[in-house]
Symmetry: C2
Subunit: 202 residues, 2 copies
């Protein structure tokens, strides 16, 4: 798992490019991000940015996916630290929502004035969030199985439950309506009820 030299170099370029893009987003919003600007900030040619990250839309998606990684780290930590399935879910949701409130990138995008065309970026977190939901789903599922192997759901049931959790949390991130702790408790409450119903039917 240790990164080889060549991987490190490739990874370094990608990280630097995304760092530069993120800095601009956080300072001036997504509309201020240009491919030339990214290239200039890192000291490579614009073509290299296209080679490495693809189109401008791909840059937004890559930024979102990288930020997603930070969130999934929190999920793994919280799940591992909790005792009990429902408490693990609640704690993980809470952690994610707190991070979502603190993340400059998320706040910049979610909190942007709708008129600005930062909406391009916001769409990735909402209407185009397919890959995010998928990736997060895989991680959450695995974290659940790792830490609570006796989860009573069957495989396909677990898929549905996980996807529901992810979608609920993503919704609370993009459109917060209450404290992270309250929102997390709400999500956990739904799951707890589902578990109870599942037990009663079997």
């Amino acid at each position: 798992m240790t990164a080889t030299y060549r991987e490190s170099v490739q990874g370094l370029l990608r990280e630097r490019l995304l760092d530069a893009a993120q800095r601009v987003v956080e300072d001036s919003g997504w509309s201020a991000v240009t491919m030339s600007g990214i290239a200039g900030a890192v000291g490579v040619s614009r073509q290299t940015v296209h080679n490495e990250l693809g189109t401008r839309h791909d840059v937004a998606q890559a930024l979102a996916m990288r930020e997603l990684g930070r969130f999934l780290d929190v999920v793994r930590e919280r799940m591992a630290a909790a005792d009990g399935l429902v408490e693990g879910i609640r704690s993980a949701c809470e952690g994610v929502l707190e991070l979502g409130r603190e993340s400059v990138l998320i706040r910049t995008i979610v909190g942007s004035v709708p008129s600005e065309n930062d909406a391009d970026f916001l769409k990735i977190l909402t209407t185009e969030s397919g890959e995010i939901v998928d990736t997060a789903g895989v991680v959450v599922r695995q974290a659940l199985l790792d830490n609570f192997p006796d989860v009573p759901f069957a495989d396909d049931e677990l898929d549905v439950a996980v996807e529901s959790i992810v979608r609920l949390v993503l919704s609370h991130v993009t459109r917060p309506s209450k404290d992270p702790s309250r929102a997390a408790a709400d999500v956990a409450w739904i799951i707890e009820l589902s578990l109870a119903g599942h037990a009663a039917r079997s």
Copy 2:
């Protein structure tokens, strides 16, 4: 002073190569270091090692110079923290000698059985130590001037004093005869006497 992307990549290759070489030295001695081994450990071709580091002898020198950097960091720290010229010199010497006793690389080389041809490497610290003395001299000189601008030596006098300090310390590193604190006090004592003599003559 922040490293640009391209500098980072070049520096990364060099660091990885030296890391690999140092690992072998610390585990199995200098004689076990091969150019192919370094290349293989980092995942580049042997030719690239030659391009980046030169000959095998150059690798040993580069390792020594890199380790020297760690020592000079200590010098700068200690000088900045001390109050008084002589105390700064004493503290810096002490720090360097302690680090020399703890550095695995230094202990491996200095402590190697003379019969082994790790002596190749040892020579760099002793008979071929020209560049080391020069580099260390420049840094020590600057550290002295930065922290004790009222040092009473003239320029050429300072050169002699600094070089003497460096040579004394290097000798204590390669052939320790007493505690770092004792050896450092000895060096400082010499300098203190020189300063007193200098003052008396002027």
